[in-house]
């Protein structure tokens, strides 16, 4: 885009004189900054209002998750103390005495039924747990998916065939069932069933099971892209000029598939968050008393008829989060690949 205008503005190749001439006449110097594809995408994204708002929402969630300990310190409560029971704010059925789930100046989002923990800190810590696990799963899945896709597409032949069949095999596992069945198995790998299991083992197990079935979609996409790129002239040119395979992958292939990777990651993350929350909801993910987004739904499902408010906060928070992420994914795709029809 910038090259024709460069040619039009400076017909005579006198680069040394050109700036002096401009300064002398006091004219506004035409800005001839080269725009990289990334910069163009960023400019397009900046113009997309929905995308910017969604990016703001997503960043907000990330900040809340990161700063949860800080926020709860300022707020003066923690997600483990049983305020409702200790302060006598629950009735004999374990339902908050005050209306709307016990919302007041002290407990902004009310109290959890039965145990009486503070919903606000539960939620921010829950988001922290779920988002952290989902981020880890997404990162590992994407990295491994890209690696396998690259190997498949670039090497082709037998390694492509076997990795492809392997990915077929993994795709044939019933996903949710695999998660719930193998989380205890992996936990048992680290700790004997009789011992108290530390939370980080659970988290590691959840990350591992979700990753094991999570990399195939990225892998297939990357493979397809690399297959079509591999035959292009610029790759051939690089190879003829003696570039090593590592260099071709790093400097020629990867820059071309970044956009796919980025879009896939933004679409994968909310899926992983809801999957993790679903596992905790079913009672096979994070175990209480560790705060978790999905566990809040589990608690809420038991009390939704007497205390709807408690379900409302995690539910709405999750809908907003997923909507924002999905819209962000669409905007990122539009920004990176303006050719797609929508």
């Amino acid at each position: 885009m910038s090259s024709p205008s460069t040619a039009a503005k400076g017909p005579e190749p006198v680069p040394a004189e050109a700036p002096a001439h401009v300064e002398g006449t006091g004219q506004q110097p035409p800005e001839l900054v080269g725009r990289s594809p990334g910069r163009l995408a960023w400019l397009r994204f900046r113009r997309d209002r929905t995308g910017m708002i969604c990016a703001g929402v997503v960043i907000f969630y990330l900040v809340v998750a990161l700063a949860a300990p800080l926020i709860s310190k300022v707020y003066g409560k923690n997600p483990y103390e049983l305020y409702g029971q200790d302060l006598g704010l629950l009735n004999s059925y374990g339902i908050p005495l005050k209306p709307n789930g016990g919302i007041d100046g002290d407990f902004w989002f009310g109290l959890e039924p039965q145990l009486g923990r503070d919903v606000f800190t539960l939620l921010i810590y829950g988001i922290r747990t779920s988002l952290g696990i989902a981020l880890a799963v997404t990162t590992v899945s994407v990295v491994v998916g890209v690696l396998i896709g690259l190997v498949q597409g670039y090497l082709g032949g037998r390694s492509d065939y076997f990795l492809g069949r392997f990915s077929d095999l993994m795709l044939s596992f019933p996903q949710q069932l695999f998660f719930i069945a193998f989380t205890p198995v992996i936990v048992a790998l680290f700790v004997s069933p009789r011992d108290e299991e530390p939370t980080y083992v659970r988290i590691a197990a959840l990350v591992i099971v979700q990753f094991v079935l999570g990399w195939m979609s990225v892998g297939r996409l990357v493979r397809a892209q690399v297959l079509s790129l591999r035959e292009r002239e610029f790759i051939e040119a690089a190879r003829i000029s003696g570039a090593s395979s590592g260099r071709i992958i790093r400097k020629e292939l990867l820059p071309n598939i970044w956009s796919t990777i980025l879009v896939q990651s933004t679409l994968l993350l909310p899926v992983n968050v809801t999957a993790e929350a679903g596992l905790s909801y079913l009672g096979v993910g994070i175990l209480p008393p560790t705060p978790d987004w999905g566990l809040m739904f589990q608690q809420a499902a038991a009390y939704y008829e007497s205390d709807v408010t408690f379900m409302f906060f995690p539910g709405i928070a999750m809908v907003i989060f997923v909507v924002a992420f999905n819209l962000l994914g669409d905007s990122v795709r539009d920004a990176l690949d303006p050719k797609t029809v929508r």
């Binding site: 949710q176 719930i180 069933p193 909801y281 939704y304 999905n326």
Partner: protein, 325 residues
């Protein structure tokens, strides 16, 4: 076609064999001692030894796996009693035949899956088609917005709300219960309406989005323009040409989703307390009932590979450019 089917079925069998092997080894060869699990909380070492012998856990793992696989096709005699042909052993938790338990629970899962899939396919594709037809107008905007939110709502949030509204407050729908088709067909339908509705929401919103974008993409293709230039009515072109082009992709997604719900819509079943395969599998995991888990996993995987083959065959029927090889 025949060659394609034979090849695919053979491939599917290999995949199932591998899945059964991986699952079996992970379940039975890991530190979580199945004998301890099936024995319960406090049991004596003698008991454990006895159970280990009864379950055949003292044999080498390969032999155990071989017995298990032979049992599925030919049945086997277990210490606890004979186990007829599709033999997945006896449940650790209640000493029932695993296959009987599954056969008992499967009608619920099947009813939920068929009901839900019908709703989400019709509503989703229908909405998508109308949105694409009305592209850019009010209906399209509203439908896109609804689909976006629907796509982002989770069953564990929507389910309790739906029960609270439709069943507890307004009393217009049943809160969801297991179907009993032979004794109470009408009651079964009523019991399934709410679960099917909730289950289908997350799916149809995806279908309407996909269908819409596929149709919009199709309508900009050259052959569509050529057909319009020849003077064909736009509705005919839309429904006959563009829909046919979009159908292949829709069927692919449908195959994946259908196989997922046929293998047990776990969260829906748990939320509505339906005693199908999904709830069964969660209970099996919580009780460490390995034979039951094993069976549910294999059934789920079988459904997935069968659906894949059917989808690929259907794909070729719809799109003559694709040759089965």
């Amino acid at each position: 076609m025949l060659r394609f089917l034979v090849r695919r079925v053979l491939g599917a069998l290999v995949i199932l064999l591998l899945i059964s092997a991986i699952t079996y080894f992970l379940f039975f060869f890991l530190p979580s001692d199945p004998a301890l699990l099936s024995c319960g909380k406090n049991c004596s070492p003698q008991n454990v030894a006895l159970i280990r012998k009864n379950l055949g856990l003292d044999l080498p793992i390969w032999t155990q796996y071989w017995h298990f696989m032979v049992g599925i096709f030919a049945g086997r005699d277990m210490p606890i009693g004979h186990c007829p042909a599709p033999c997945f052993g006896y449940s650790f938790a209640d000493q029932q035949l695993v296959w009987d338990t599954i056969a008992d629970r499967y009608p619920t899962t099947l009813s939920l899956a068929i009901g839900g899939a019908t709703v989400f396919l019709c509503v989703g594709v229908g909405l998508g088609l109308v949105s694409a037809w009305q592209q850019g107008r009010a209906f399209d905007r509203i439908a896109s917005g609804v689909s976006l939110v629907g796509n982002s709502v989770q069953i564990y949030f929507l389910g309790p709300i739906a029960i609270g509204l439709f069943a507890s407050s307004w009393h217009v729908l049943d809160r969801g219960h297991d179907p009993d088709w032979s004794h109470d067909p009408w009651g079964s339908v009523q019991g399934l309406i709410l679960p099917c509705m909730v289950l289908s929401v997350i799916f149809w919103s995806n279908y309407s989005r996909q269908t819409r974008s596929l149709m919009v993409e199709q309508m900009s293709e050259d052959h569509i323009r050529a057909a319009r230039a020849k003077g064909m009515s736009s509705r005919y072109v839309f429904l006959r040409y563009a829909l046919r082009g979009a159908a292949a992709s829709i069927i692919t997604i449908f195959g994946i989703d259908l196989s997922a719900v046929l293998g047990g819509a776990i969260i829906t079943e748990v939320t509505f307390g339906l005693h199908g395969l999904g709830l069964l599998s969660v209970q099996a995991v919580l009780r460490s009932d390995l034979p039951l888990e094993m069976a549910v996993m294999l059934i789920g995987a079988t459904i997935i590979v069968v659906c894949n083959i059917v989808v690929d065959a259907a794909y070729a029927l719809i799109d003559p450019r694709i040759r089965l090889s």
